[in-house]
Amino acid sequence: MTAASWALLTSTFVASFVECVEALTIVLAMGITRGWRAAIAGTLTALAGLVVFAIAAGYALTTWLPTSALQLVVGTLLLIFGLQWLRKAILRTAGLKALHDEEAEYAEQTESARSARSDTVMGLDAFGYIVSLKAVFLEGVEVIFIVLTFGLNADNVALASVGGGAAAIVVLALGLVVHRPLSAVPENTLKYVVGLLLTTFGTFWSLEGLGIFTSAGDSLHWWGGDWALLALLLFWAAMSQALIWGLRERLDRRSARTEEVAV
């Protein structure tokens, strides 16, 4: 396998892993509070829906959309996903947001599941079924976008699918073993790295895709070609570190002022 293939496999695995952990957290909360039958049924229904969605989205993207339009649409989506992750990672690292969101999410979901009404449909708890289905489907669609985008651009959807599928299997196995949220996973570091990757590729492809608005409709080309990706990655990494440093300084100054007032 080439270095590019390993990079594709690793990128799709790590990005999909984080999404799968989020889905598993909610399914576990539903399983423990509302019963495993509803949580598993919701998960299986979502997985069936995801298979249909992946086939339809993959066919539509590769058949109907010109390359530049594909880059603009999926690049923009990747950019939004990536910047949202980067935003959370920056705020957490700077100390402005709680580090272990999965534990907080688990506690919040568990509490709302306990207080929800108990309606049953076809012998299944409706609340547990719907919440599990929604969580798995929503996170699953994000995984499909990541796998299709990276796969189509690297011209190797099969390998990207292996990365995404492997992440789902590993998270599922971990969930079966630990039976509680995967708070031990260094979620913030993973999200920061994946956020940087998605943001870099999203910036690159979305701006290339603007070429759809030229008379020829061809993708725009970056100065330096694919090397621009490396420059973008380094630039986003430096920019995010500068933001973390600046926000920490601000937080320290605020704490110092509060202490002075208290004294």
Binding site: R87, F137, T203, L207, F213, W223
Partner: protein, 71 residues
């Protein structure tokens, strides 16, 4: 009607997430780059200024978040 409403909420959840400012920042930056392209700027200028616009828009949205949480 109910299915449409559910699909709309799902789409908003997927694309916008928990912070609409990020999605707005990205769209604004791409509009700036798109306008430059339509005004006749070359690919190097469009991609360079576009990347800068994305970075600035994201930084502003993050600082707005911090100011809101501090206030």
């Amino acid at each position: 009607m109910r299915a449409l409403e559910v699909s709309w909420h799902f789409l908003v959840d997927l694309v916008v997430g928990d912070d609409p400012k990020v999605a707005v920042a990205v769209v604004l930056a791409l509009v700036v780059a798109g306008v430059l392209l339509l005004l006749g700027a070359g690919p190097t200028v469009v991609t360079g200024v576009g990347a800068l616009a994305i970075i600035v828009a994201f930084t502003v949205s993050l600082l707005l978040d911090v100011r809101k949480s501090a206030g």
